[in-house]
Amino acid sequence: MGTDGRKTICNPIDRYQTLRLKESLSTPFQYILACKELSFILKNAYSKFPKNLQSLIFQDTLFAFSLLPEMQTQSAISAANSLLQSAEFTLPKQKRATAITEHKHAVVANKRKSKAKQEEEGIIPLPQDVLIHIFSFLDMQSLVSASAVCRSWNAAASDDHLWEFLYAIYFCASDNVGQNGHKTHGETEREGHSLNGIATGVGIDWRCAFKIAYKGTCYRKFKSYRGYCSSCCSVVWISSNTCANKSNIKDGSNHQIKPISRQQIVEYILDGFLVSESSSDSDSDTEDVSILKLWAYPRQIG
């Protein structure tokens, strides 16, 4: 006991304990620092310590390894690695072997745990084909958002078919070509080829084509995110998966969806059917096409 009023800690083991390393190791955000500190102490001073402190430090080292599975970061693993190096460097034979085994188990458990965690949280990456199908239920803006999420989503959301269908819905479903989906589709393709085929040679970048066409139109029609399906006589949300609202698809008919404005939705609600936009609609459509043509060439340069 100190006689001068202040409590002096004369024992190395007590002083070590005031560092509260064990406690810090248990705190995830302090684990790395505590690990590094322990590693340093182990490497530089272990041999100078009394037996009881050596034993305590050894226990703490094992404790640090046992916590590793709980840690999620790569830096925690490297901190534990440097602790292992110190242990290999300083510890006597038997303790060294114990530490190495403990560390090995911890690393394996860590890997297993992080994998299990991924599964539990649903980060298991979905296969591209599943992603593409999911994306086919999205409207254009959501599809663009999805492509900014991560690389694999970007690849899936750039799928040409998705954009080809969206293109067909947004720009090709006018009243005069309503009956046959395939026909419309074919026309789109031909039109597209005549636009871009010369320069690209093989196929069309449908997202690009979409972008160009979209920029060239007034957005009023698309602002509502709504389309009208003439087969079901109902208003649906636009996505490339035609008529996503209908769960009974067994009739196998091709559901043509035509973008409509909010005004048209109101009309639909009031009248129960879609008042087809008179001749002005087809006028604007032809205008769209001409704008599209104007836009097509700068694209090749850019």
């Binding site: 999911i134 409207d139 959501s142 492509s147 690389r151 972008k211």
Partner: protein
């Protein structure tokens, strides 16, 4: 229209279909759990149907890519859809409830299972449901909900923002509509 042919010896009942109803198959999940299911329900999965047809279903059908919990869900779905008396309306309602309460992780499991087992109706339902959860959401929100970490560099993110700006042109100004 009332459904009268509930009795098994209806006039137009295909004997083969009848046999399928009484025959049961055993499905074994990745974690070793076994489930019994009538053949008529099981063959709603094209993958299982193929296995049955190729006669490689010697008693137990192992499904190494589907865990027990997910398989139990899938079987609930199959049983409902193979049910005799269930009308289309009932099935649709069931589908709705079946997927509505699912967590994202579960939806992912089910979509993978449905994909693997090739169950068209379920696949479509679940995909639609997953898509619904990302509609009209910010990129950040989607990442959070789907537990996805961005693997783009900040520069790429910045570039994408510029590149995709066109998609929102004219969307925000709702006032004049």
């Amino acid at each position: 229209m009332a459904r009268k042919n509930r009795n098994p010896v209806g006039k137009n009942v295909d004997p083969e279909a009848q046999k399928k109803k009484t025959r049961t198959l055993t499905l074994k999940s990745s974690d070793g759990q076994e489930f019994s299911i009538s053949e008529s329900a099981a063959v709603l999965s094209i993958a299982i149907e193929n296995m049955v047809e190729d006669d490689c279903a010697g008693g137990v059908i192992p499904l190494p890519l589907v865990d027990g919990g997910t398989l139990a869900r899938v079987i609930t779905y199959l049983n409902k859809h193979a049910e005799d008396g269930a009308s289309d309306e009932e099935k649709r309602k069931f589908d709705e409830e079946f997927v509505s309460g699912m967590e994202m992780g579960v939806l992912f499991d089910v979509v993978l299972a449905a994909n693997y087992l090739d169950i068209r109706g379920l696949l479509r339902e679940v995909r639609r449901r997953i898509a619904d959860r990302m509609k009209n959401k910010s990129v950040e929100w989607v990442r959070k909900t789907f537990h996805i970490e961005s693997d783009f560099t900040p520069e790429e993110e910045e570039q994408m923002k510029k590149e995709f700006a066109w998609a929102w042109e004219g969307v925000d100004s709702d006032v004049d509509d």
